[in-house]
Amino acid sequence: MKRRLLTVLGFASGVAAASVVVRRQFGRKRDRIDVYYEDGSMISYVEGSPEAQTLLGPVHEALRASRA
């Protein structure tokens, strides 16, 4: 009986720990840049893409400057 209870408790704590890890991994909003053009089109570059990598440098620089 005690052994069974320990197994259930172990399984439950494992599930809880896994859900925390998954939420931390995927729950964080990724940095993103929306660029609007004269012709009315818009392109969204999400963190991880090479374009976003280029654009996020000046963005962080600007945010740092404004809070200096």
């Binding site: 909003k29 660029v35 053009y37 280029t54 654009l55 996020l56 963005v59 600007a62 809070r67």
Partner: protein
């Protein structure tokens, strides 16, 4: 309207905007809400560089008019109107449409006060034509 007055109105209207800087195409600062001039210049330079790099990403006839960058630290908005630009930093997750609207209003309000945009030409004044007396009436008057 004066650039500083337009910026003061902007920060008064929009509580989401933390800092803003108005600058020219060369990155020259025309006005800012920041107390530190070096910080304002750094913000303008970074925003100008961002616009330039965003323009370079798409080779076409349509240029970048505005952009929004959302990060965990906050957001950066840049709006371009001809040779004049405005960059603003906001809190995280602002009301994007409202911020863009306020920034465009600020650019428009400050136009013609030292900026590159040409002021609107003055409309010609309407004048009333004087009524010319009829020849018969004039003869009757003389008699």
């Amino acid at each position: 309207m004066d650039v500083q007055q337009a910026l003061a109105d902007l920060t008064e209207i929009s509580s989401q905007i933390e800092a803003a800087v108005l600058f020219g195409s060369g990155g020259a600062v025309q006005g800012t809400t920041l107390a530190d001039e070096a910080a304002a210049k750094a913000l303008a330079d970074a925003a100008a560089s961002l616009l330039e790099q965003a323009d370079a990403l798409r080779t076409g006839e349509a240029g970048v008019t505005q952009l929004e960058a959302a990060t965990a630290d906050g957001c950066l908005f840049v709006v371009r109107d001809g040779d004049r630009r405005i960059a603003a930093t906001t809190v995280a997750e602002p009301t994007v449409g409202l911020v863009f609207y306020d920034l465009k209003s600020c650019l428009r309000d400050s136009a013609g006060s030292g900026g590159g945009a040409a002021p609107e030409p003055e409309k010609p004044k309407r004048t009333r034509k004087k009524k010319v007396a009829e020849p018969e009436e004039a003869a009757a008057d003389e008699a």
